[in-house]
C-alpha cells in the first residue's frame, strides 16, 4: 500500500484508496463545480473530512440522499424568476437539478455543508438552503399536524402507530387474498392536513376518522390512557372495521403416487373430528361463500395418505387407509366466508383459498391513537344520553383525559383540536404542516374562525352533564381530532383457561394462545412465593394445578411399580414384590428418574412412613 507523503490527503473512491490529493479543499470544490455543471454525474458525492485527513468520493448505491438548494454569494440559486417559471410549468424539478440549482447530498457530504432552514438564516458561511423546512422531518412525522409542537419521543411513537392504523390499504382489497387485512369503514381525510397529504397519494388511502373530542374526565373511566367513546357514534359506524383472514390449503402429491384429496372425510379416516365439524362443507369438501362459521368448524375438508408407509402395507382391505387433514377455523375466531377461490399451483396441484370476513365494532379494550403519539384503549362505551353535551346538542365522540397532555408534551394535539374545529366549521381542511406559521399566531387565526361561527375563540365549550343536565362548573376544551384505529383488538387476543390440554412428555399445561395454553408460573414467580413462605400455595401452583401424578413405589427396592389389570395386582418389575406405597409426585420428576435410568444409573426412592 502506498504510504502517505507529508502534506497530502488520502483519496478514497467508494471506500477504496485510489491516491492522494495535495489541496483537498480545492479538489473537493472542483469536483462539486464539475457536478453542478453536469460534467460529471449528479449522483457523485464528495466529502472532505479534515479530522481524518481524508477525501471520500461516493458513487455507489444505497446512499440516502436529499435535495438542497445551492447558495452562491449569500443568495439561493433558485430565484423568483425560476420559481415563476416552475409555477407556470415552463420548467420542472429535474431542470433545476440538471442546471446546478438544486443538488442531492448524501450523509457524508452533508458534513461539509451548512444548511439554512429559511432564507433569513443565510449567512456568509451557508452553503445550502432547505427546499422545504418541513423536510427535516420524515414522511410519517410530516403526516402529523404541528409536529414542531410535539416532543421527539411522541414522534417515535407516532411512527409506530401509523404502521398499525386501519384504513383503506388498497383499493383492490376485494381481489386480494392477504393472510390478514384490516379495512376501516368510512375512512376520512383529516380535517387538518399537511403538505405530505398533497404530495403523495395518501389522501386516497386515509386511515382514520375525525372525532369530536372533549378534553374531559368521565367518572374515572378514562384514567391513565383509557378513552371513553360515545356508543351512539359507534353504532353509527365510528371506528368500525372489517377483518379479513385467508386460509388456504393444497392437494399435495407424495412420492409413490399418493396425493391429498379435497372431500368430506369419511368417519373411518384417522383423526376424524365428528360430524358437526364438517356440516358446513359442500359436497366437494369446500365451504360455500357467505356461510357463517364458528371456531372449530371445518373450512376445507381434506384427506391425506397416512404419515407412515407401513400402515398401508398388510391392511389388505379394499378401502384405502386415509388420515383427516382438514383445515379448521382457529380457536376464538368466527366470521363469514367472504370469498372462495379454487386454482392451481405451479406444480399442477389444486389450491383453495378462503377469505373469512368478520366485523370488528369498537369494544372495550380496542386501541385508538391520534396523530401525536397519544394512544388509548376504550374503557367504556357510554350511551348518548349519559354523555356530556354542548348547548347546540353536540355530543363528543371521544372523551380524552386532560392528564394525557402536560406530561407528554404533545401540544400539537391541542392545536389540532382547535384547528380541526375551525376547519369543520369552515368546511375546508386547514394546513398544519410543520413550521408554516410564518410568524402569524395560529391561535389567533383559528380563534377568529371560531368566533365567526359563534364559538369561543379558545375552543372552550360549556358542557352539560348528561346524567343530571347541570352544566359543568368549568368550561371544557372541545375540538376535532383525527384518530386512527390500530389493529390491536381484544377479540383477536382474548384467551382464558381454567383446565385444558397438557403436554404429552411432562403432563404440564400447554403454552400459547393457539394451543389453549395456560400462563406460565415462572421461576421468578416461584421465588416470590418462596420468599413469602407460602409453601402450600406454591405446592398447589406447581403440583396440584400442573403435573400431579400418583405412582406406585416398591417398598422393597424403591422403583416404580405398575398395576396389572389382568391379574389385578401391583407388580414391581425389578424385585417382583407386591408391597407398594402410593405416592403423589410431579410427573416431571418421574420423567427425570426415567431419563436417569436411561443413563444407566438406577435411582431408588426411600420413603418414610
Amino acid at each position: 500500500m502506498a504510504t502517505l507523503k507529508k502534506g497530502k490527503t488520502y483519496l478514497y473512491l467508494n471506500g477504496r484508496i485510489i491516491g492522494f490529493v495535495e489541496d483537498p479543499q480545492k479538489f473537493v470544490n472542483e469536483v462539486r463545480t464539475a457536478r453542478r455543471k453536469g460534467v460529471i454525474s449528479g449522483e457523485v458525492n464528495v466529502a472532505y473530512i479534515a479530522k481524518l485527513n481524508v477525501v471520500n468520493i461516493n458513487t455507489d448505491r444505497g446512499r440516502v440522499r436529499k435535495p438542497y438548494i445551492i447558495i452562491e454569494n449569500m443568495a439561493p440559486k433558485l430565484t423568483k424568476d425560476l420559481l415563476e417559471k416552475l409555477k407556470s410549468k415552463e420548467i420542472n424539478f429535474n431542470y433545476l437539478v440538471r442546471n446546478g440549482i438544486i443538488e442531492y447530498l448524501d450523509a457524508e457530504e452533508e458534513e461539509n455543508a451548512l444548511v439554512a432552514f429559511t432564507e433569513h438564516d443565510i449567512t456568509d458561511q451557508t452553503t445550502h438552503l432547505e427546499v422545504d423546512i418541513a423536510s427535516i422531518f420524515g414522511f410519517t412525522i410530516n403526516t402529523s399536524p404541528f409536529p414542531e409542537h410535539n416532543s421527539l419521543a411522541r414522534h417515535a411513537m407516532l411512527a409506530n402507530f401509523t404502521k398499525q392504523a386501519e384504513g383503506l390499504y388498497a383499493t383492490n382489497f376485494n381481489q386480494r387474498f392477504d393472510s390478514r387485512a384490516y379495512l376501516l369503514f368510512y375512512p376520512q381525510v383529516p380535517a387538518v392536513t399537511t403538505t405530505a397529504y398533497d404530495s403523495t397519494n395518501i389522501k386516497n388511502h386515509p386511515s382514520g376518522q375525525n372525532f369530536v373530542v372533549a378534553l374531559s374526565t368521565y367518572y374515572g373511566y378514562n384514567m391513565a390512557d383509557a378513552i371513553v367513546l360515545n356508543r351512539a357514534a359507534v353504532d353509527r359506524g365510528l371506528g368500525r372495521s372489517i377483518f379479513y383472514k385467508t386460509y388456504s390449503d393444497e392437494e399435495r402429491r407424495y412420492p409413490g403416487g399418493q396425493r391429498d384429496r379435497f372431500k368430506i372425510p369419511a368417519p373411518t379416516a384417522e383423526g376424524y373430528m365428528g360430524e358437526n365439524v364438517y356440516s358446513k362443507l359442500s359436497d366437494d369438501g369446500i365451504i360455500e361463500p357467505e356461510m357463517q362459521i364458528q371456531e372449530g368448524e371445518a373450512l376445507i375438508g381434506k384427506v391425506a395418505p397416512p404419515r407412515f408407509l407401513e400402515e398401508n402395507i398388510g391392511a389388505g382391505g379394499l378401502e384405502e387407509k386415509v388420515r383427516d387433514d382438514s383445515t379448521v377455523l382457529k380457536t376464538g375466531e368466527k366470521g363469514t366466508v367472504d370469498s372462495v377461490i379454487l386454482t392451481e399451483s405451479t406444480g399442477a396441484t389444486k389450491i383453495v383459498k378462503i377469505r373469512i370476513r368478520s366485523l370488528k365494532i369498537p369494544e372495550n379494550g380496542d386501541k385508538f391513537a391520534s396523530r401525536h403519539g397519544q394512544k388509548g384503549v376504550v374503557a367504556l362505551l357510554v350511551p348518548p344520553e349519559d354523555m356530556p353535551f354542548t348547548a347546540e346538542g353536540i355530543i363528543p365522540d371521544l372523551l380524552l383525559n386532560p392528564h394525557s397532555i402536560p406530561t407528554r408534551l404533545t401540544f400539537g394535539h391541542l392545536l389540532e383540536m382547535l384547528a380541526g374545529k375551525a376547519s369543520a366549521l369552515n368546511g375546508a381542511p386547514l394546513d398544519g404542516t410543520a413550521f408554516t406559521d410564518k410568524g402569524t399566531d395560529r391561535l389567533e387565526q383559528y380563534g377568529k374562525i371560531l368566533n365567526n361561527y359563534g364559538f369561543e375563540q379558545n375552543g372552550n365549550e360549556v358542557l352539560y352533564d348528561g346524567i343530571t343536565g347541570i352544566p359543568f362548573k368549568a368550561q371544557v376544551f372541545t375540538g376535532v381530532v383525527y384518530y386512527n384505529r390500530l389493529y390491536h383488538m381484544v377479540s383477536n387476543k382474548i384467551q382464558v383457561r381454567s383446565r385444558g390440554k397438557v403436554q404429552i412428555l411432562t403432563h404440564q399445561p400447554t403454552e400459547g394462545k393457539a394451543r389453549q395454553g395456560a400462563l406460565r408460573f415462572g421461576e421468578m414467580e416461584r421465588d416470590a412465593l418462596i420468599g413469602y413462605g407460602a409453601s402450600l400455595l406454591l405446592k398447589e401452583r406447581l403440583l396440584d394445578q400442573s403435573d400431579k401424578t400418583e405412582v406406585l413405589i416398591c417398598k422393597e427396592c424403591g422403583s416404580f411399580g405398575y398395576y396389572d389389570h389382568i391379574k389385578k395386582v401391583n407388580v414391581c418389575p425389578l424385585c417382583k414384590s407386591s408391597s407398594f406405597s402410593e405416592v403423589e409426585i410431579s410427573y416431571a420428576f418421574k420423567v427425570l428418574l426415567d431419563e436417569i435410568k436411561a443413563l444407566h444409573i438406577l435411582p431408588s426412592v426411600k420413603l418414610n412412613e
Binding site: G533, L536, K539, A588, L599
Partner: protein
C-alpha cells in the same frame, strides 16, 4: 429499660421458617437490574479508578481471590499523620518499584557475560532512587555482582557465559522489587480535608507486608481485597469487610439495600471458615441435595457422582422438594410434627 428492650427483642426477631436467603437475594437482585442500565464512571476525579457497579458485586459475591483493582488505604500514626514530609517518607518506604518500571533498555552481552540496565532517568528521579542504591539493593537481595558505573545505568557482571543463566537472571532482575514493599503497588499521598491528616492509598493489597512498616496505624488500615483481610485478621474480619464492600458498591450507585441482607450474604459466604463464592464452586456446589446441585449447573457431573458413590438425597431443601412436588420446608411448610399421634396418647394417659 433493659426489660422493655428484652421484651421487644422478640418482636424484631425474624420468625422461624422465614426464607431470609430468598428475601436477601431478591432485595439485592432487584436494584441490581437498575445498576446495569446506569453504569457510568466518574473518570479522572479519583485517580485510582476501581471497578464498581455490577462487575464489582459479581467479583465480591464470587469471592475472587484477587480483586481486579486492589486498593489499600494506609493511615499513619497520629503523631506523624499531619506532616507531609513524614507522609512522603512513608510513601517512599512503601511504594513498590519494580526494576522493569524504571528500566528503559536492557543490554545483554553474552561474550562478556554482563547485563546492562539503562534507566529511564525521569522515573528514577521520581522514585528518589540513584543507580548506586539500585546496585546495592540488587547485590543484597539477588546476590549478584551489580555495579553502578555511571549515572544512568547499572551493570551486572555474571562471571559466566552460560546463555541460559544470563537470560534467566535478566528476567529475574527485571521482575525484582527495587524499593518499597512487594505487592503494595503504586502508592499515592492523599489528604483528608476534614481532619487535616495525610494518608496513603496503595494500588495493591499486600496488607501483610504493609502493616509491619513502622509508623503505620495498624488499627485503621483497610483494603478492598477480602482475602487479604482474611489472611491477616481472620474470617470475622473478612465477613465484615465483605459486607462493607458490598454496601460501598451499592451506595456508590445510590442504591439502598438494608444491610441485614448484605450481612446475611456475607455470613453465608464465610460460615465455613473461609470466604466462599455463591456460585457452582462455592455455596451452590456444596449443597446437601443431589437434585438441587444437578438442577443448578453441571447436571451430569453430579448425577454420575451420586451414582458412583451411592449418594442419598435427604430432601431437606427447597429446590429438590419443588422438583418432586412436596411441600417445601420453608415458611408455612416448616412446621413438622415431632411426636407421633400414638405417642401423644401415651403422654396424656400418664397425666391422668
Amino acid at each position: 429499660m433493659a426489660k422493655t428492650l428484652d421484651k421487644d427483642k422478640e418482636k424484631y426477631m425474624v420468625q422461624y421458617g422465614e426464607p431470609v436467603g430468598m428475601i436477601a437475594a431478591q432485595s439485592v437482585g432487584e436494584p441490581g437490574t437498575q445498576m446495569i442500565l446506569r453504569s457510568f464512571h466518574l473518570a479522572g476525579i479519583e485517580s485510582t479508578i476501581s471497578t464498581s457497579g455490577l462487575p464489582r458485586i459479581v467479583e465480591l459475591v464470587d469471592a475472587k481471590k484477587k480483586p481486579a483493582t486492589p486498593v489499600t488505604y494506609i493511615y499513619l500514626n497520629k503523631s506523624i499523620s499531619k506532616s507531609f514530609d513524614k507522609a512522603d517518607e512513608m510513601q517512599k518506604k512503601i511504594n513498590e518499584v519494580v526494576m522493569s518500571n524504571i528500566t528503559r533498555r536492557t543490554i545483554e552481552n553474552f561474550t562478556k557475560g554482563t547485563i546492562r540496565f539503562l534507566f529511564n532517568r525521569q522515573e528514577l528521579e521520581l522514585e528518589g532512587l540513584s543507580p548506586k542504591q539500585v546496585a546495592t539493593r540488587l547485590e543484597k537481595h539477588l546476590e549478584v555482582d551489580a555495579k553502578a558505573e555511571d549515572e544512568k545505568s547499572v551493570t551486572v557482571h555474571m562471571h559466566t557465559k552460560n546463555l541460559k543463566l544470563i537470560r534467566a537472571t535478566t528476567v529475574k532482575i527485571l521482575k525484582s522489587v527495587i524499593s518499597g514493599i512487594e505487592g503494595a503497588g503504586k502508592v499515592m499521598i492523599r489528604k483528608d480535608e476534614k481532619t487535616d491528616e495525610f494518608y496513603l492509598v496503595a494500588a495493591g493489597s499486600n496488607m501483610e507486608g504493609i502493616i509491619n512498616v513502622d509508623g503505620i496505624d495498624k488499627s485503621r488500615i483497610t483494603t478492598n481485597d477480602i482475602f487479604s483481610v482474611y489472611r491477616l485478621f481472620g474470617v470475622e474480619a473478612a465477613r465484615n469487610a465483605l459486607a462493607m464492600e458490598l454496601k460501598k458498591t451499592l451506595d456508590e450507585q445510590k442504591i439502598s439495600v438494608n444491610q441485614r441482607h448484605l450481612y446475611l450474604i456475607s455470613d453465608a459466604m464465610t460460615a465455613s471458615g473461609t470466604p466462599k463464592g455463591v456460585g457452582r464452586h462455592g455455596l451452590s456446589g456444596e449443597k446437601n441435595s443431589v437434585f438441587a446441585r444437578a438442577a443448578y449447573e453441571e447436571t451430569v457431573k453430579h448425577l454420575i457422582h451420586a451414582a458412583a458413590y451411592g449418594e442419598v438425597d435427604p430432601m431437606k431443601g427447597v429446590t429438590e422438594n419443588i422438583l418432586v412436588g412436596k411441600q417445601i420446608p420453608i415458611g408455612t411448610g416448616s412446621v413438622r410434627l415431632t411426636i407421633k399421634k400414638e405417642d401423644m396418647a401415651k403422654i396424656k394417659s400418664k397425666k391422668d
